[in-house]
């Protein structure tokens, strides 16, 4: 097992190195860099000024040198300067992480709280009207764009309460903060819960067909005991794997939801930085997102090894 973990760890590092190259190259494909945009915006045409600006931002150096500057900076915590605000990129990114992290955590909690019980009910009552309605419900969860759901929630607030919950970075109390964040978190979590529900259902159905479930029934265990003590415990394992996929799913939802609710988190910041072609911010943020998803997937794999004693990794 130790060799499996070590191998998996090095693969993760390799993926991240490849990722950094991919991000860097993709951003350099962009027609027109920040100096072009600043020039258009300011209406300047002087070529010498433009060259000076490019030299100042390091855009005139060969691409390999630019890449090396970035990577060696990453190792020492120096992420360069944001083009737009001219502040260190790290100072721009770090303060925005907590709010997105809180939002993601709440959304994950919501998605598990909604997804797992509904998935179990759907499986236990397979092919009933309830099962059909829950399946349509989960499929509709996958079909609603989360930004539209967010807009609908806003609309409901305007209609019923006459006001819109506005995010503030100085909440009165922790409950106030949770209350404010749980509205966008619900918009993101609903979509994610659909995924969990579908997986819980199919995993539960598979377990319910196993021999040990028949044995449990035969020895006279109650239906509830069979469903929850025998089946659910085994069915939850694959659901844990999906948390890795879920991380990627949540980030996609957060990008649009933070935009709708005007929440100053990293996800909305990414869109703003892309619009401005703010390379230092974009490449560092995307790298950050990649690190988060890759590490979460790695941890989920490790958790799986620990939780499921049936799996042996000998190679």
């Amino acid at each position: 097992m130790a060799t499996y973990i070590i191998r998996r760890f090095f693969l993760m590092i390799l993926t991240l190195i490849g990722m950094s190259i991919l991000i860097f190259v993709m951003l350099r494909l962009v027609p027109g860099n920040i100096s072009d945009i600043l020039f258009d915006a300011a209406g300047m045409v002087n070529e010498a000024d433009k060259a000076r600006l490019e030299a100042e931002l390091g855009l005139d150096k060969p691409i390999i040198v630019q890449y090396w500057t970035w990577i060696s900076g990453l190792m020492t915590g120096d992420l360069g300067y944001a083009y737009v605000s001219e502040k260190p990129a790290l100072d721009e990114i770090l303060p925005r992480i907590p709010v997105t992290a809180k939002l993601a955590l709440l959304a994950l909690i919501f998605s598990v709280l909604i997804g797992v019980p509904l998935g179990v009910i759907s499986a236990v009552k397979q092919d009933s009207i309830l099962d059909y309605s829950l399946r349509v419900f989960s499929l509709s969860g996958l079909s609603l764009p989360s930004f539209w759901l967010a807009l609908l929630i806003l609309m409901a607030f305007v209609h019923y309460f006459g006001w819109i919950p506005i995010y503030t970075d100085k909440p009165a109390s922790i409950w106030h903060e949770i209350g404010l964040l749980s509205i966008p978190a619900l918009a993101v979590g609903f979509r994610a819960s659909a995924l969990i529900m579908r997986l819980t259902r199919s995993s539960m159905l598979e377990v319910l067909r196993q021999d040990y479930i028949r044995t449990a029934r035969a020895k006279g265990a109650s239906t509830a005991s069979v469903n929850y003590n025998h089946a659910l415990r085994n069915a939850v394992l694959p659901v844990i794997t999906i948390i890795g996929i879920e991380a990627a799913f949540l980030i996609g939802g957060l990008i649009v939801t933070e935009t709708v609710f005007n929440i100053p988190g990293v996800a909305r910041f990414l869109v703003e930085a892309i619009r401005w072609r703010d390379y230092p911010i974009v490449q560092n943020l995307v790298m950050f997102i990649a690190v988060v998803t890759v590490v979460v997937n790695f941890l989920v794999d490790m958790a799986y090894v620990l939780l499921d004693p049936r799996i042996k990794y000998d190679d």
């Binding site: 499929l139 539209w148 609908l152 935009t259 869109v271 072609r277």
Partner: protein
């Protein structure tokens, strides 16, 4: 009596299919949700193809006098800030959505199949390199990848299609590769080798046709997510540019401020997106059940 029951059982199991009509009614009865999905998808395709017949007004004509007109009268779904008819814009938006959805899915599947087939069939260092590359591509969330691609390619209809197809490629390649690995060991591949067929010819003649079923399953499943990604990109202002009426961008133009003043601008495009994606998802589930019995739920 017993024979009658026996007959009914056979019909229910789909054994008595002898005409295309009985096949049709069998599938509708067996997969009611899938049939509903197919109906929705067909409706959207018809609306998209015959958009000029369904639209009541030109989707791009602006009119200051009807700015933010509420639903009713000439604009029965209302008009946007520039006085453009919402119904006509939604009808033409179906074209954009389907075009981007189908275009990016086909493009992504095409490259995904080639990469998956070659890396699965030939194996070795080629497989090793593509596998690592696929790992890297999959490390980024779909929307982030599409955002990056869209931003680096610049806003246009074609570039949006390319940007959305990129994250589909690794997904398809992975599935096709694992299928190919199993197919490679089949007796008919061995037979083809024995009669001296070239490797490339075997890969494309004998292995490729057998990956069609999983490919159709994947394709229908990806279609909904491609339509949704287009809507998200356009909503963020990085997707299909003006003057194309895109459902996603209609929502971004109207988003937060119109929630108070003109809710119809928020409700209708959202319904269009959700319904289209819902239909493809229902259809995708049924197609998977029919073509891939191992995953049957």
């Amino acid at each position: 009596m017993a024979t009658a029951d026996h007959q009914a059982e056979l019909t229910r199991a789909g054994a008595n299919i002898n005409s295309s009509w009985s096949r049709f009614t069998y599938y509708v009865r067996r997969y009611p949700l899938g049939a509903a999905g197919a109906l929705i998808v067909i409706a959207f395709v018809v609306i998209a193809i015959f958009a000029p017949f369904f639209a009541t007004l030109d989707p791009t004509t602006t009119n200051a006098r009807t700015s933010l007109a509420p639903p009713g009268g000439q604009h029965f779904l209302g008009a946007d800030f520039m006085g453009r008819d919402m119904w006509s814009r939604i009808v033409y938006g179906a074209r954009i959505s389907l075009m981007v959805g189908i275009g990016s899915t086909v493009l992504g599947c095409f490259f995904g199949v080639i990469i998956g087939l070659l890396s699965g069939y030939y194996g070795g260092w080629l497989d090793l390199i593509t596998q690592r590359f696929i790992d890297i591509m999959q490390a980024l969330p779909l929307l982030v990848m599409a955002l990056l691609m869209a931003a680096s390619l610049g806003p246009s209809l074609e570039n949006t299609i390319i940007a959305i197809s990129i994250p589909i490629i690794p997904h398809v390649a992975r599935v096709i590769r694992s299928n190919t690995l199993a197919l490679r060991e089949m007796p008919y591949v061995e037979a083809a080798k024995a009669v001296g067929m070239s490797e490339t010819k075997i890969a494309f003649r004998h292995v490729l046709p057998n990956t069609i079923a999983p490919l159709i399953v994947l394709g229908t499943a990806q279609l909904g997510s491609a339509i949704l990604t287009e809507a998200s990109l356009s909503f963020l202002g990085l997707g299909v540019p003006e003057p194309h009426p895109s459902w996603g961008r209609m929502l971004s133009e109207s988003a937060a401020e119109y929630v108070r003043t003109a809710p119809w601008l928020v409700i209708f495009p959202g319904i269009a997106i959700s319904l289209a994606v819902f239909g493809t998802n229902l259809l995708g589930d049924a197609v998977r059940d029919i073509l891939d019995p191992r995953q049957r739920s």
